[in-house]
Assembly symmetry: D2
Homo-oligomer: 352 residues x 4
């Protein structure tokens, strides 16, 4: 209820503050018998690390900070695994946070950064960890990616595969590699370079395509497949919108145009909240990173307005690093719906 647990049957709890001792997650409900290794987790975590593009990083000693974080993102599996297979018991994954200079954040103790959750957290809890956003830091998504890596492994067994990519930055479409699995990084870097030079940041779009989803996934009424995905995507801090298939364009169409016939997939693979067997397609809109190099005006705890210059490293555009997060959340939603689907029909004892 307190918002840190996701899913019903394939259930994940995440924990950790950006500058506390550690980040981690516990997966309760991953079926027994799944082959899993720490490498499965590690390879996904690498994809969301900062500093992968030299152009997507701003702020004081950016490189240093990145590399520090790189060291920190080493996962350890604490439970749920036995001789290379899942036990059907909770899978706990731990990632230690690297040491950080607390002093670097002291000026934010009583100041609420524009576009961040700082003021809301203070109002909600009456206390907050101001260091790097604490629990509201984007670093929390590390735990989702770790859990998502397990969900992806589980889904692969059913032939379900998820791929996401940056489809636009600051309103400009991104050229894609042939397999759609990766954007053209040179293209992305060029866009970021300009914005970085302005001491600014940029919004972006992340697209997602899911192949191999069987017909019939998604629970009717309140837990529709697209409802679950929308809830999952909007739970990622910077996301401000989502659309499935034709999405907002469908609102401008007539029925005769929108009803899928033949080759179109205006429905994005979901009708009435249930998978149609076609590819699932959706797009998510990410707002620009609110932390920018330019000096800004900010509210403080006393309701006053102060001048604020944000130190520490931050991204120019979050979209590139959000790609594995979008995939992870999609995987967690689908893994949960796959398990839920098992209970919708009369089975025989042998299938219990």
């Amino acid at each position: 209820m307190a918002g840190n647990i996701f899913g019903d049957l394939f259930r994940v709890v995440t924990f950790g503050e950006s500058h506390g001792p550690a980040m981690g997650c516990v997966i309760d409900g991953c079926p027994a018998g799944l082959e899993l290794s720490v490498d499965d987790i590690r390879q996904e975590l690498v994809r969301r690390r900062p500093g992968q593009s030299s152009e997507n990083c701003a702020g004081a000693n950016c490189a240093a900070a990145s590399s520090a974080r790189n060291e920190a993102d080493e996962p350890e599996i604490l439970s749920g695994l036995f001789e290379g297979k899942t036990l059907g018991t909770p899978i706990a994954i731990l990632v230690r946070n690297s040491d950080c200079k607390e002093s670097e954040y002291e000026n934010l103790r009583d100041v609420f950064r524009p576009g961040h959750a700082d003021a809301g957290w203070q109002a909600k809890f009456g206390i907050r960890d101001h260091r790097g956003g604490g629990r509201s830091s984007g670093r929390e998504t590390l735990c989702r990616v770790a859990a998502g890596a397990v969900a992806k492994k589980f889904l692969a067994g059913y032939g379900i595969h998820i791929s996401s990519w940056v489809s636009a930055i600051a309103g400009q479409d991104v050229c894609l590699s042939a397999d759609k699995a990766q954007p053209d990084n040179a293209d992305v870097d060029a866009m970021l370079k300009t914005i970085r030079a302005e001491g600014d940041s940029a919004g972006g779009m992340v697209s997602c395509l899911v192949r191999g989803v069987p017909k019939g996934l998604g629970e009717p009424v309140f837990d529709k497949l697209d409802a679950r995905l929308a809830g999952a995507m909007l739970s990622v801090g910077a996301v401000k919108g989502i659309e499935f298939g034709a999405g907002f364009a469908a609102a401008c169409m007539k029925g005769s145009e929108n009803n899928d016939a033949g080759m179109t997939n205006n429905a994005g693979g979901v009708l009435g909240g249930i998978s149609t067997g076609q590819d699932i397609e959706f797009k998510t809109a990410f707002k620009p990173v609110p932390s920018i190099a330019q000096p800004q005006k900010a509210l403080n705890a006393n309701g006053g307005i102060v001048d604020l210059t944000i130190n520490g490293r931050h991204d120019i555009c979050i979209a590139p690093r959000a790609v594995p997060v979008v995939e992870a959340m999609t995987a967690l939603v689908l893994a949960d719906l796959v398990l839920l689907q098992r209970s919708n029909r009369i089975s025989v004892l042998s299938e219990l």
Copy 2:
């Protein structure tokens, strides 16, 4: 888990098939002491009735069907109320379905209507009620509106007020009345008339504005305020997209533009998933009603393709009738988050 229960503390279960004996809902968790009457429910149900606009209705004996439904939508409160106040026990609300000609739907027993959930339900459950879509019928939203009426009453006590309106039909903006509470119906009817004449249907947009939300609502990480609202909106069958504040436009902005300063509300009243104290603003995209007067090709249970003409009444555009549904789902989300918020801080015994 089976998808018919919504919320955590202000919890609602809905039941009923379009052409079964009755529709209804049970609210578990509405606090004790709330003044409530059957009129509170009735006045919301009236807003979603079909046939309110003569232009928003197509199909055989449209008027007759509408009026029949009008009679049917009389709510009865079965429990949870005592001498005009809620008891803190489950509030059950029942609405009987009017009799319908089953024969009218016989041709759909083994045919899957294009753009509907028919095929998905068959794949999922191996059995379905083909009469008017059964459980997947838009009629299910009647139960949400009934439950939402109770949530609205609850929220009004905190000074939280929700208003939605049709902001566009088939891509054309709708003129609004001054208070934004209602679209210009003459304008709407004019748009619908053209589409109806073509034997077609249209998509539309519904906007929502929530005033009086205190700062601090929304649970961090997975149960963010906007995540909950997105999940709720996409759980409405025809919705294909949602955006908060600047939404998709934010993905095209730079940080210096998007960070709210002064009068803007690009965040739509939500930062990091927590309410900022500003108005909550979002837009939802509704696809065109898939049932159209024109003959269509459809799949049948044997995988064959058949000619299909859909009988029975259906709407030209669902947006006008979806307005109270959007408000109801918003109310259910906020009522739940209001109750959840109570448990976030240490309280004193007297506040238990």
Copy 3:
């Protein structure tokens, strides 16, 4: 969260106050394809009706009240059923309450009956329906029996069968019929007659035996099979204790005696919270009905002590009527665990 929803996958919500318009339940999660009829519900409801034993009834116009209630317990299935089979959608069951003389209860408006929940409800909600206990009335168990009837039908498909019986009244063991399915009613009536003559009431024991439970049911750690059953049984108002297998006697044993070898079932069919494949056996202790014919002292809303004589019919011993309730709750627990069990192992797509 508000306590009126039971189960995780085979989920039930009950509603209704003793003297409100109706009682009922909604089952969300019963798999599709189960053959079900209103007779399946009716035959279980008949088993818990009052006035089945002329000796187990006290108070003014007892017979009249009973017969009135008999008329009232006619179930109606409002949803979830299509052509004799479950749809996989919510199954709503409604039972209307018969009219009652409100005046009969007026003297209880501000008086808290000894041994009842009256004072607790007033403290909890600040409002209560004083007529016949309102929501805290034993009549609420009618809804559990209705839902349990569906769960029993579901379990029968797996060869799982539940039987309960009164094993003792006021400390005296009850002779049983050969098949243990029924106590010797003549024996029971003889015991009740004496107590009734004293204007008193009596406690009793209800035993339960479940045959055909496959090995492996029950979720480790917090949702153990016996933990679920214990929670379910103690949720029945008058139950004050439960024991599995050797139960309290096991606390007096040595390991060499208690470890099952060969023919014993000291574990009661559960080890470490997981079914062993042996019969599940447990006993529940019911306290005496607190409403007695003798005049009593009672607290009133002002904290004063008043003389109280309870009018209206009440049972001498609740155990006989609790038998179908114990079976129903057992069925709801097992149905839920059967569905949960499906998600514990890697399956193949065809089993989704």
Copy 4:
């Protein structure tokens, strides 16, 4: 759903296998602003350590094993704490397992210990960690005690205090110290010594008393206070029964005897599932430790019967070490119900 998450609002997930890398828990829902330190956790963990009584330990190098475990039970708080207070974010607590000789357990890889969950786990998951019982080991209760320590701290703020003690061993009552907070350890050791000498083990009783519970805790119908406590207690592996207040004796009473008047507390502080404001009193029955020094017959994976001698240390009677576990589970139940209680009445905005 997979059984490793406890509670609704004050929610705990535990993880870890007995001989895996670590044990731990994550608490999601502890309100912000609670003063907490690692010492609060440590002092509770010390109470459940093995080897506290030299007489309550059997098996090869008992002392060594104990001390090894002692080293291992050092808790680390990984998140949720900032400058000595809870943040309202997940509190993760980690305890590393000490190294163990795997070889010591190799003979149990394909053998199911009598009276243990081994066979059930194998049937359920098709895979298990045979080393020391893996996830089904009593060592899992360490995580409950750690989480319970936080719940106790939370409850202390409301003046709610829990105390448990060993009230009987192998059927003999234990003399208590004056304040009932501790059994007479000399008395306990004397009992254990005899049984140990026989190479056997013993069952026992643990009593619990909760002072300071306000009137009105417990959710009606399915989440009654005693239902929650019963479910919590039976979730402790060795518990076979529970009774509240007069308990099983009440089943032998008449209403006129059982209805509390004046000084008695036959209800054990709970009526209709809601706290009465009197002390909450219950007793739990623990079966004898199934692992005994005597050679036993056991089933193996092939269905054969083999001779088994259990190596490694094990307790003579689990009751003494179960005392802090009973307190911890009671604290977790009450903390959850305290938070749930906050949502039962209309409040004012300032109380959100």
